[in-house]
């Protein structure tokens, strides 16, 4: 192979002679992927992230991270002559004045929503198949860090625009920040430079966090996440006798997996651009510029913040007060404590499960949800808890849709968020056990059939010489 005459013309030889990476490269090309559709959810998240970077870089070229006052004179008549921030004006202009700007902005926004959705679905897949178990606990923890960092990234992204909706969201974020015990007030002043909305310094800080600090952090975490996945390989489902705890069956990266994975990447990008072109999202020119003294009814955040709005709305009315001094303001419970509890439960789960089941072995085989009735039941209960809080985040929309008064909904949901998960736990556990039982019956029937077929064949074989 190593023919000096071909030096510089054979790229494989060129690379290997300079990096000695051929063994590594060959190993990477033959890296095995177990074949199951649910393993692609994480890939969808990864590809949405790539679309986010690509469209985000484009948007950053047009965005003006400044709250300095200016007046709009562009083509959109309803806003003409309106005083607004440079930030808001630049987003209105990139949406309505620059060619393809709206496509890029809407695709960016859709990509963020799809990114978060695929992360959550990926998390559910990993949870319900027990794929977080030893030796993959670190991958799980990094995944959780990715989820919560992405949440913050998405929130900062749409807060940058300084339209009425995002300004309200930022005001709530400020209220939640202030509610953090001990450090909340001073931290709010440190970050905003004064009481909200501050003197405009927060915009550029938010901008650098959104376009550089957090994306760099996300990229690093994604790298670590993928490196850990590759180090221990994927889990796999036991489809037949070849799949065991020690033996992995899969399609190699090249040539089998690569075209599929690339096709998925292009398909994700295609769907995001189609959404960005055809389905309007966050038409900020309709909301108008933000002023702290303006509000609007029926305001809803992006879907992935719905659970926090719901938690803020569900909390009963109280501040923790000692004498004349507030100690823990109300938004802390819904805006900080609730997501931290969710994070803590998810992060601790692999270790808690290990303690409860006493199972400390390595797991390379993914469970079917029914194979772990307690885990599946807990997972569904926990999800239903969060989901109900999420739904209540849109309770004012439910009122508009179904005519049930907000007050009634509040009472119902305050009960339901505790009752439904408890019921879900019992029902799902029962269901898993029934399914397991059905599997056993099916398996025994199959064994009996095989035995019958064997006996029949035996009979035929014996009969033959007689005839």
């Amino acid at each position: 192979m190593s023919d000096p005459g071909r030096d510089g013309r054979d790229p494989i030889q060129f690379i290997d002679e300079r990096t000695a990476a051929a063994p590594l490269l060959k190993k990477a090309l033959r890296y095995l992927f177990p074949d199951h559709w649910s393993f692609l959810l994480g890939e969808i998240a990864l590809y949405s992230f790539i679309v986010l970077i690509a469209t985000g870089v484009y948007l950053a070229l047009f965005f003006e991270p400044s709250l300095a006052k200016t007046v709009y004179h562009g083509p959109y008549a309803p806003l003409r002559g309106r005083e607004m921030s440079e930030a808001y004006k630049s987003v209105v202009e990139m949406s309505l004045t620059y060619k393809a700007g709206l496509l890029m902005r809407q695709t960016h926004h859709w990509a963020a929503d799809v990114f978060m959705a695929s992360i959550v679905l990926h998390l559910m897949r990993v949870f319900f198949t027990g794929a977080y178990r030893k030796p993959r606990e670190l991958t799980w923890l990094i995944g959780l860090a990715l989820l919560f960092t992405s949440l913050l990234e998405g929130y900062l992204g749409y807060s940058l625009v300084d339209d009425l909706l995002s300004g309200i969201g930022l005001a709530i974020g400020y209220g939640v920040l202030l509610s953090v015990p001990l450090v909340g007030g001073p931290l709010g002043v440190l970050l905003f430079g004064a009481a909200f909305p501050g003197k405009g310094v927060f915009e550029s800080r938010m901008y650098i966090a959104h376009v550089f600090i957090i994306p760099a952090l996300l990229a690093t975490l994604i790298g670590a996440h993928l490196a850990l996945v590759m180090a221990r390989h994927h889990t796999q489902f036991k489809r037949d006798a070849r799949h065991t705890q020690r033996r992995l069956v899969g399609v190699p990266m090249f040539p089998g997996q690569a075209p599929r994975s690339l096709a998925l990447m292009l398909a994700v990008a295609a769907v995001l651009f189609l959404l960005g072109g055809l389905v309007q999202i966050n038409p900020i020119w309709q909301w108008g510029p933000f002023e702290p003294w303006l509000g609007t009814n029926g305001a809803q955040p992006d879907w992935y913040l719905g659970w926090l709005i719901g938690a803020l709305r569900l909390m009963p009315s109280f501040d923790v007060v000692i004498g004349h001094y507030t100690v823990i303001p109300n938004p802390f419970w819904g805006g900080v404590a609730f997501p931290l509890v969710v994070l803590a439960v998810l992060a601790a789960f692999p270790w808690v499960e290990r303690r409860l089941t006493g199972d400390r072995t390595v797991h390379n085989l993914a469970d079917r949800p029914r194979q772990a009735p307690n885990r599946t039941a807990f997972g569904v209960a926990f999800l239903s808890w969060i989901f109900l809080v999420f739904v209540f985040g849109a309770a004012d929309r439910l009122y508009v849709l179904f005519g049930v008064s907000y007050e009634t909904l509040l009472t119902v949901f305050r009960v339901a968020i505790w009752v439904v998960p408890a019921l879900a736990f019992l029902i799902v556990r029962r269901l898993c056990r029934e399914l397991q039982h059905a599997d056993r019956v099916e398996h025994e029937r199959e064994l009996a059939e095989q035995e019958a077929a064997r006996q029949e064949a035996e009979l035929m074989r014996r009969r033959e010489p007689v005839i």
Binding site: R30, L32, L96, Y98, K99, L102, I168, A171, I172, Y174, G175, L178, S179, P181, G185, G188, V189, L190, L191, G193, A194, A195, F196, R232, R246, L248, V249, V251, P252, P255, G256, P259, L262, A263, L264, A270, V271, F273, L274, G277, L278, E291, W293, L294, G295, N297, A299, I309, L312, R313, P316, S317, F318, Y325, T326, V327, P329, P331, G335, I467
Partner: protein
């Protein structure tokens, strides 16, 4: 003999399908044996022949058909047998699929067409008339057809192998070697904990020094800016256009937004919501006598829950049967009763909206008679409730 043959024929008829399957399996087995043979001959080693075997198995499983199984397996066998001449195949062979190749090219052509379409649409339309939908369809279509092309390529033109390998195991030997390495490296050090402590302390202090410049972002541990209020006795109320608010202009059953005259309108301590109730309805807390001349009330417009603007006013259409007038925050539906000093009657807010005492000057304009009854906006740890001191 005749009877036996006849019976055999019957059995063959009855069990023909099973026989055919068995035959197929036998032939595949043969192919596998060939591959085994090839592997034995091959210098290239075990892994390569396993690929051949995998290929033969795949063919035997009916994806390509029994005949092709033999073909594939023997091809693999030949490859293995000729080890010195050509290396054994890594990727199992497959049959060409000319139609799939044309299909991929056609899909790629469509992708190019859409990509060109994107450029044409971009160039053709003016910014004002740019059809975002068409742009999205062009870009999405280009990417989508490219995805389809790759999908067809991956499904029909690339051999899909299923390979087995061992999961990576832990390395107890290396683990203990690293432990030993650490232990032995430190064996000549006598004051281990002292050195470690000194090192950690230095790292901490250095880190602190490095982070110090971050404090330039703003004042450290200072909540004084949160206490700021532009209101003092005598300051006039102005409407959003900057005109002083006349008491006679303030009507019942609606609400007004007002600011401190001359103050920054973005200052959340400046903005007020002003309503008017019938003086007989007022049940203000003790010590607020005279704060609401002619039933005109002024409260901070910033919700004490999470800082949104209290931008809704519930105005009963049938006051006898419906709930009393209320100030409502649209974010989390904290609801305040203006008649009772904006006490919380619904929602998550933990304390009332701060009230601003009002007075009317000789020219009939509304003026503040003092500062707010409490802190404006969302609360924080340690904030003192009640009037500012």
């Amino acid at each position: 003999m005749k009877l036996r043959q006849g019976l055999l024929a019957g059995v063959t008829l009855l069990y023909g399908r099973r026989r055919r399957r068995l035959e197929r399996e036998r032939r595949a087995e043969q192919g596998r044996a060939d591959a085994e043979q090839g592997r034995a001959d091959a210098e290239q080693g075990r892994a390569d022949a396993e690929q051949a075997r995998a290929g033969a198995e795949q063919a035997g499983a009916g994806q390509v058909g029994a005949g092709q199984a033999q073909e594939a397996a023997s091809a693999a066998g030949d490859g293995g047998g000729g080890g010195a001449r050509t290396p054994a195949r890594i990727v199992p062979p497959g049959l060409p699929d000319r139609r799939a190749e044309y299909l991929v090219v056609a899909l790629l052509a469509l992708a190019m067409l859409f990509a060109v379409g994107f450029i044409v649409v971009y160039a053709e339309y003016s910014p004002a008339e740019m059809p975002n939908q068409l742009l999205g369809v062009c870009m999405g279509g280009a990417l989508g057809f490219a995805a389809l092309a790759l999908a067809v390529f991956g499904r029909r033109l690339v051999v899909t192998e299923e390979i087995e390998e061992d999961y990576p195991q832990e390395n107890p030997r290396e683990q203990s070697e690293i432990a030993q390495l650490l232990h032995e490296s430190a064996s000549r050090i006598t004051r281990r904990r002292l050195l470690l402590g000194a090192g950690a302390a230095t790292g901490g202090v250095l880190g602190l020094a490095g982070l110090t410049p971050v404090l330039s972002l703003g004042p450290l541990w200072d909540t004084a800016p949160l206490d700021y209020s532009p209101w003092h006795r005598g300051r006039r109320l102005v409407d959003p256009h900057g005109y002083p608010l006349l008491a006679s202009e303030v009507e019942e059953e609606t609400f007004y937004t007002a600011f401190a005259e001359g103050a920054d309108r973005e200052d959340i301590a400046s903005v007020l919501v002003v309503v008017r109730l019938h003086p007989s309805e007022l049940r203000l807390p003790e010590g607020r006598e005279g704060w609401a001349p002619y039933g005109i009330l002024a409260y901070s417009k910033i919700c004490t829950h999470a800082g949104c603007a209290v931008a809704l006013y519930r105005k009963p259409r049938f006051p006898v049967v419906e709930a009393k007038p209320a100030l409502v925050c649209p974010c989390h539906y904290s609801t305040f009763n203006p008649a009772t000093g904006a006490s919380v009657i619904f929602g998550p807010a933990g304390r009332p909206l701060p009230q601003l005492p009002l007075m009317i000057d000789p020219s009939g304009h509304l003026r503040a008679a003092g500062d707010f009854s409490g802190r404006v906006g969302p609360a924080w740890w340690g904030v003192r409730e009640g009037p500012p001191t």
